[in-house]
Symmetry: C2
Subunit: 447 residues, 2 copies
């Protein structure tokens, strides 16, 4: 933990929380394996009388896809790190894993790899089930993605790096899937009645979500759309958010490059016509990377005509967009690209607006949050952490939650196989006692 | 039906069988929608006391991915045609479909599109839910794959065309998934005891499978590996297969180009050193495209060192490879590329061999057939028609069987949503009565 703190500056409270989440994730996948139904066993028994033709006995289940390469990000050294969710789900699927550690925290990666290696030995897992690779050289990353043995890639990081890996994998003689979780703007929408009833409460929650982890979470709310019921309401709300953000303690940026990128980007954004910088992230302390949050505001027309405002500010910064009507909010939602999350603040009087907005957003994002905030991703069975491009390269999948295992599995059907030669999950007596779909009916009975 | 027969020459018996399969497929997806569990509803109720952090209410289900482009092949004008499995599964998922008809049978495509269009109108489906596009011009195909609205492509056809579409889709500003089902060699393995006990029976079944549909099925057995228990056994078996193939009625090739390709390829194969052509497909009748089956044989060393023998002969031709031992059969199985199917003929005395072989093959194919033949794909819940590249570009999916719907769905999670604004599948009272995974437990109860 002292190594992780020295490398990341995140502090032991945050790091301990992340460690809890990491071990929780590993246990959740262990529970999933114990429960066993994740293999999606489907059995169609033989039927000589079936129409239009007689049917053989066919039994289908999911099997491991093969070796998986995992690229870890800088922003979650533990939960998305060497022993993080991608590694956990790939190992749970039965795939060997080669992790490319992030150069921001090599010592932390090494410690995690040692712990995983020891656990693998204790559990009697085959040698080579897990490997850590550390390098700054891009050729190493390229060699990993193009290695013929590698059958899938999981990646968390920037759009540029994620897309480069996707392109490389698609150009292989045998193309392989890349599950890249990249940037996201995580738009927040505030409906008129909610704004009237609880502007201060929403602003306070937003400030917490914008500055959590110094804004370096993939679910940080980067855009806030406010439907103005009265002139000036949006600007007043933006000022309120700026105030709340400024009053919070500054946090630490992950590394000097991220910090410098944010400074440069924000200087450009603040100079755009029609854009106001209401709160500027505090300058770094001498040699340090400490930053408070920042808030920018603009009107809808400026937002729509300014591509730079559609780019993620990676750090504790959000853009509040003042929209002239509820309808204009629905329209701008329809025009957005893919995101991990969208958040709707709507009260009972906003129900129709909320319903229309949610319908539009379900085509745009992987998770819709009602009257809450997108940070703090719950690691549960139902969680979906993914979304249409450019949020990810694989919107049919998630990188958080136990269904993340589905990325590394593929179906195999066995036709008229002798019972003793079938995998246990498919044997007639159902020795694993798992739930199976038999002739269209869910059951744990023999078949 | 007269249009289809005139365009394809397949005969009304085959075409009626295919029509039965096509309507059966459409009804199977209708049943799947009625049953409703295909949305994979997962519910993680709120838990304020959860560790390491309190959990919100999260409800996740699958939603349509968006408009789907379907490219149909020449070899199944109905079952994989305009109203075939790809269209049926995409429409069932709730996605609008644009079909590119195959130039081999434009009239058949038009008839199918009319029937589908009438059914869509009768059912009150929105306009534009289904469109047929017919063109020989490759620019039309390119425009379809690169249209920003299209969110997925389903394709059945050759490796060259499938890979070209995959590459084009991967290079889009927003890359999209391509579910291409391409060629397959469908290796058959005959174990020593099975060979001793029932060589004639296996040879007869193989001949039927090789010549079914004049060998133009994606599951045609293209390679047959025989583990010789005694010298000369493999050649005797190959001759037996050749005899059985030759004794069958000739069939009709789908079009002149496929017929010419097969002739050219077979002339090259027959001239290879170490390769014997035991039965040559009958020359075409004057102006016709009628062909009997062909059988080629070679030894294992020649097979391993001759890349041309690893290419599919699209038509009623199979290559019998004589292997010196059971171990050498396992070795060659390990060296194969991805295939849709593999078939094992093994008797009780072959159990250990069969087990080792099945273990190797489960990494290589989507379906393993025991003591049968790979053609005649049963359209059942458990069917898997897919496999590792180059058989498909998406081994985690199938193009036959009701799980084919999974290609066109993606998950969305709703966090703390008001019950009335949730999709019915996720509402607390479970108004659809579907099975849902609630807090890790399968149930149809409220939650």
């Amino acid at each position: 933990m002292s190594v992780a703190d020295a490398e990341t500056g995140l502090g032991t409270a945050r790091l301990n929380g992340e460690l809890d989440r990491t071990t929780f994730q590993l246990r959740a996948f262990a529970d999933l394996l114990d429960e066993g139904s994740f293999v999606e066993a489907i059995i169609s028994p033989a039927d000589a009388a079936a129409k239009p033709v007689a049917r053989p006995d066919v039994r289908r289940m999911l099997v491991p896809i093969g070796p998986v390469a995992v690229f870890t990000p800088s922003n979650f050294p533990l939960a998305f790190g060497v022993a993080g969710g991608d590694t956990a789900s790939a190992l749970a699927a039965g795939c060997p894993v080669i992790v490319k550690g992030h150069p921001s925290h090599p010592g932390t990666s090494e410690e995690c790899a040692r712990a995983l290696g020891a656990a693998a030995r204790d559990a009697g897992a085959p040698q080579g089930v897990f490997t850590l690779l550390q390098a700054r050289d891009l050729d190493v990353a390229r060699a990993l993605v193009t290695a013929p043995e590698v059958q899938a890639v999981a990646f968390t990081g920037s759009l540029a790096a994620g897309r480069a890996i996707y392109d490389l994998a698609a150009q292989r003689p045998q193309p392989i899937p890349v599950f890249a979780e990249m940037g996201s703007l995580n738009p927040v929408f505030v409906a008129p009645a909610a704004m009237s009833a609880r502007a201060a409460e929403i602003a306070d929650g937003l400030a917490g979500s914008i500055t959590l982890g110094t804004g370096q979470f993939c679910t940080k709310p980067g855009l806030v759309f406010v439907a103005e019921a009265a002139a000036g309401e949006g600007r007043a709300f933006a000022k309120l958010v700026a105030e709340k953000v400024t009053s919070r303690d500054p946090g630490v940026m992950l590394n000097a490059q991220i910090d410098a990128n944010l400074s440069r980007q924000l200087a450009r954004t603040g100079a755009l016509p029609g854009v106001e910088l209401l709160a500027r992230p505090a300058e770094r302390a001498a040699g340090g990377l400490t930053r408070a949050g920042g808030v920018v505001t603009t009107d809808l027309a400026t937002f729509l005509s300014t591509p730079a405002l559609h780019e993620e500010h990676f750090g504790p910064v959000s853009v509040v967009i003042r929209c002239p009507s509820a309808d204009s909010v629905i329209d701008v939602a329809s025009s957005l690209e893919g995101n991990l999350t969208a958040t709707i603040h709507a009260d009972e009087a906003d129900a129709l607006f909320g319903k229309r907005l949610a319908s539009v957003l379900s085509d745009k994002v992987g998770r819709i949050v009602w009257n809450g905030f997108p940070t703090g991703v719950a690691v549960t069975w139902a969680m979906q952490h993914g979304g249409p491009y450019p949020a990810t390269t694989a919107p049919a999948h998630t990188s958080v939650g136990v269904t993340a295992i589905r990325r590394f599995l593929r179906p195999v059907a066995y036709q008229n196989a002798p019972d003793a030669l079938l995998p246990e999950a498919l044997q007639r007596a159902n020795p694993l006692g798992i739930q199976r779909l038999v002739d269209g009916r869910w059951t744990r009975e023999d078949s």
